[in-house]
Amino acid sequence: MDAIVQQFFNFEIMGKALPLVLQGLLMTLLICCVVIPLGLLGGLLAALGSISERALLRWVCIVFVDLFRALPPLVLLIFIYAGLPFAGLRISPFAAVVVGFFLNNSAYFAEILRAGLLSVPKGQEEAARSTGMTGVQTLISVTLPQAVRNVLPDLLSNGVEIVKLTSIASVVSLGEMLHAAGLVRSLTYNASPLVLAAGIYLALLWPAIRVIAYYERRIAS
């Protein structure tokens, strides 16, 4: 029992790891602030493409979405970070994470937004267009808000998945939270820094998971 406490809940080591882990947390948040909006934007474009009336565009978007849903994000990330330099394209860990996450997140957000856009009755768009709004205006102020509302729990839960996914950036030595905790672990041979990081992830994401559950219940009833 004592050994377990020493190994996983050593507060002295946690205290020493805290500054570094908090610095990592900032990087985790920074990654999220960059990749979530980018993913939403890419996802919206791919979603619009995948319900377009132009067959070619539609198929290109569907293939893009399916391809990047089939490919594990870590494979994508390592391909970009470790593969491209062989062809003379050197890329920083941060840029590799942004590009890899953009491709992966866009595919997932596209699937969700597509379902949302399809859930809005056609009459909404027709009515908006008949008042003289342009296609873009209709999308921004009529269709999209309703679409987003209909799939809000799914969007939020994908957001949670992305925050969790930023932990794989540690594999390409980007100093986010897990990387920082792992570093202290390897220096101290003690798992407490990882427990500390886990606690912070939990504090960050548990409320979000509860909010999603609340929305899901409300939509179900």
């Binding site: 050994a3 377990i4 190994q7 996983f8 399916d66 391809l67 849903r69 089939a70 490919l71 594990p72 994000p73 870590l74 494979v75 994508l76 390592i78 391909f79 470790a82 593969g83 491209l84 062989f86 062809a87 003379g88 949670v160 998945e161 969790k164 996914l165 930023t166 932990s167 794989i168 540690s170 594999v171 897990l178 905790a181 792992g182 672990r185 041979y189 003690n190 798992a191 990882l194 427990v195 990081a197 886990a198 992830y201 939990l202 960050l204 994401l205 548990w206 979000a208 998971i209 509860r210 899901e216 179900a220």
Partner: protein, 224 residues
């Protein structure tokens, strides 16, 4: 252009490392199948336990599900792989990967199956009970089959997302597709093994992604 082909689709390198990637594919498939079986069974079992509406038990199940849905799987993998040996429990890398991903899939599956159970009309319970079935019998023979059918699309999506995470095993040295590919890449100083790995993952997972699209269209909320 030549540089790209030489770097990413180098025939010689591809031929040399194809067998080890194929071996990795076997590991990935085996782990994925085990994770789906244990994860879904574990999740469904807990969803059923929750249907007995024992308050303390339900709270425990919920907390477990929340924790495993909030923690990044990679954190759990590192925690178990590097932490447990120091307290005398040594687990091999594939076992750690299997345990963590089964628990994570179990947490998601429990929430999904539970949503299906609560969405099954109350009349189904009442009708089943009135024919003389016990609570357990009604759950297993009447409610659960309907609940599972209802949640097949989200369950499939989640199972794909989590089996794809077997690639995380590379970090602790599991010889799966990505593990084999990164080893081959550093030996050959060439990116072709990574291309091969990407192709292998697409071949393995694309059929399931496409099937999930089809399932979603078929099950597109016929009951609502």
């Amino acid at each position: 252009m030549d540089v790209f082909i030489d770097t990413f689709l180098n025939g010689e390198v591809l031929a040399q490392y194809a067998p080890s990637i194929l071996q990795g594919a076997l590991v990935t498939v085996l782990l994925s199948v085990l994770i789906v079986i244990f994860g879904v069974a574990f999740g469904a079992a807990r969803a059923c336990l929750r249907a007995y509406r024992v308050r303390a038990l339900a709270a425990l199940i919920m907390i477990f599900a929340d924790v495993f849905r909030a923690l990044p799987p990679l954190v759990l993998i590192l925690l178990i792989f590097f932490g447990l040996p120091n307290v005398g429990v040594v687990l091999s890398a594939p076992i750690v990967l299997f345990l963590v991903l089964s628990l994570v899939l179990g947490a998601f599956a429990e929430e999904i199956v539970w949503a299906g159970i609560t969405a099954t009309p109350k009349g189904q319970w009442e009708a089943a009970r009135s024919t003389g079935l016990s609570h357990t019998q009604a759950l297993i023979w009447v409610v659960l089959p309907q609940a599972i059918r209802m949640v097949i699309p989200p369950l499939t999506n989640r199972a794909i997302a989590i089996t794809k995470m077997t690639a995380l095993g590379m970090v602790i040295g599991v010889p799966d597709i990505l593990g084999q590919a990164t080893t081959a890449q550093s030996f050959s100083a060439n990116a072709s093994p990574l291309t091969l790995a990407a192709i292998a993952y697409v071949i393995l997972f694309l059929p399931f992604v496409m099937a999930s699209r089809w399932l979603e269209a078929r099950f597109a909320r016929p009951m609502l």
